[in-house]
Amino acid sequence: MPEKPIQGEKRVFMTGNEVVAWAALAAGAEIMYGYPITPQNEIMHYWTRLMPKYDRKFLQTEDELSAGFTTVGGVLAGRRAFTATAGPGNTLMQEPMSMAEAMRLPVVVVVQQRGGPSTATVIYSQQEVTMTTLGGNGEGLRVVYSTATHQELFDYTIKAFNTAWKYRFPTFVLGDGYQAKMRESLTFYDPAERGIEMVPTEPYVGKPGMPGVDRPPTHLRNTYNVEEELYEVLKDYLADYAKAAPEIAEYEAFDTEDAELVVVSHGVVSRAGKAAVKELREAGYKVGYFRPITLRPLPVDQLREVANKAGQLLVVESANGQLDRLVKEAAYGCSAEILPMFKPGVGITAEEVVARVKEIKG
């Protein structure tokens, strides 16, 4: 038995990509499949550097379609498997992830968003929200965690494997180029030492015993002959998803009780949102902070409560309204006016959010 990758708790200082590789190791991921794309590359680099020592595996494929499908294959074989991608790679990844939804496969994907559309920039954006939450031909039967700090990248990469294997929906950790490349401190830990039990994995195919005699035959489908047959399956899946959604949904909020305006942001932009709200509060503005951690499913009840209490929501994002659309759907019929602060493909600073709020509030 190779030693545990992380023993005890340890403060470290590194890039987000390195954090993801360590988190996957700590979570007991057995294999990564991947194809290089900036700004995700170093997840693969660190994984391949670390994995021989801990007896894990890696397969580089010919593209992201293949990386997605081989990850699907790894999961079918019962492996705690993952892949990582960005931008145009995420686009290609939607086809295999759609299959993972169809077959309820607990695939884990780490996305480090870059600018779009197409090749655009290798740097940063929050423009992969729509694609990551609702991509593929299907109903978005998936879980998306949007991280904001390196500590969260570590925590939620570990959690993603458990959410995936517990609920059997493909699960995404949605980071971005800033989180991928920046360095900051965080605390490493072994999940078991924190009382986090990893949900056991099991093979979908090649189970022991005679099918139909010792066990029910395995019947994995992503093809149906008649409409009603598909509808029956999807009704069950959608019911499972609706039941799991409140258990999975997570958010972070403060100062919303008496707020006239609540800043709604996610991921790395929420760091600017948080700093701005704190500064504005000190200056006497009645503002609050709300951040969905899960973009799919959204924390709908909590968001609606805020959207009925505050007069205005200011949706701040490095995309042209991709979070905004999700928020508006969830807050449909709520009383708050929803205002935009969109900077597609560009970082947002606390100073800019402060200025925008002051402009609105006069």
């Binding site: 900036t38 800033y178 490349k181 360095r183 900051e184 760091r271 600017a272 700093a275 970082g347």
Partner: protein
């Protein structure tokens, strides 16, 4: 609670601004402080202006980038143009006095504009390879974000394997830090 110190370092690719930012960030982290360092990066493999954003404080850092730096360091004429946007009334702007024909381009709204002959000192007194370490000394002196001993320890951590083979390199790097600090002290 101390205020977060915001630093922008910009130079030509190869001048080593990213290493400087990384070493200072590591030193601050070793002191138990919060640090966030992010490089700009694009598709180019070389060339272009390289910018490093560094923040050091006592509480977790907010957004990775910012509007206005407390200290902005520009090491080439293109870097001067590129970094003017990060200068405000509280900013100390440091540039290399060896950059030619840049006098009219220097920011006019800074708290202080300091020209230091880092390129010249590195060439004539030390070695061009430690140019960025001189800059590191300058940043440390101007901001006092980390103690010089901790900066030296961080350099040791990063370059220790080279110093083992050639102890003179250690001496030269440490001398470079001190020279950088002196240059800023006399310019201020």
């Amino acid at each position: 609670m101390g205020k977060v110190v915001k630093i922008v370092l910009a130079g030509e690719g190869g001048q080593g601004v990213q290493s400087v930012a990384e070493i200072i960030a590591e030193a601050a982290n070793e002191e138990g402080r919060e640090a966030l360092y992010i490089p700009n990066f694009g598709v180019e493999q070389r060339g272009g202006v390289s910018v490093a954003y560094l923040q050091i404080g006592d509480e977790p850092i907010g957004a990775p980038k910012f509007q206005t730096g407390d200290i902005v360091v520009a090491l080439s004429d293109r870097a001067v143009h590129r970094t003017k946007q990060y200068v405000g009334p509280e900013t100390i702007f440091v540039y290399d006095s060896g950059i030619e024909n840049v006098e009219n381009e220097l920011p006019k709204n800074a708290k202080k504009v300091l020209g230091i002959p880092a390129i010249e000192v590195s060439k004539n007194e030390l070695h061009p390879r430690v140019f960025n370490i001189i800059i590191m000394g300058a940043v440390i002196k101007a901001t006092e974000v980390v103690a010089v001993e901790d900066a030296k320890a961080a350099i040791e951590k990063k370059l220790g394997y080279k110093f083992e083979k050639n102890p003179k390199l250690r001496e030269m790097n440490f001398r470079a830090i001190e020279r950088g600090m002196e240059l800023v002290a006399s310019a201020m």
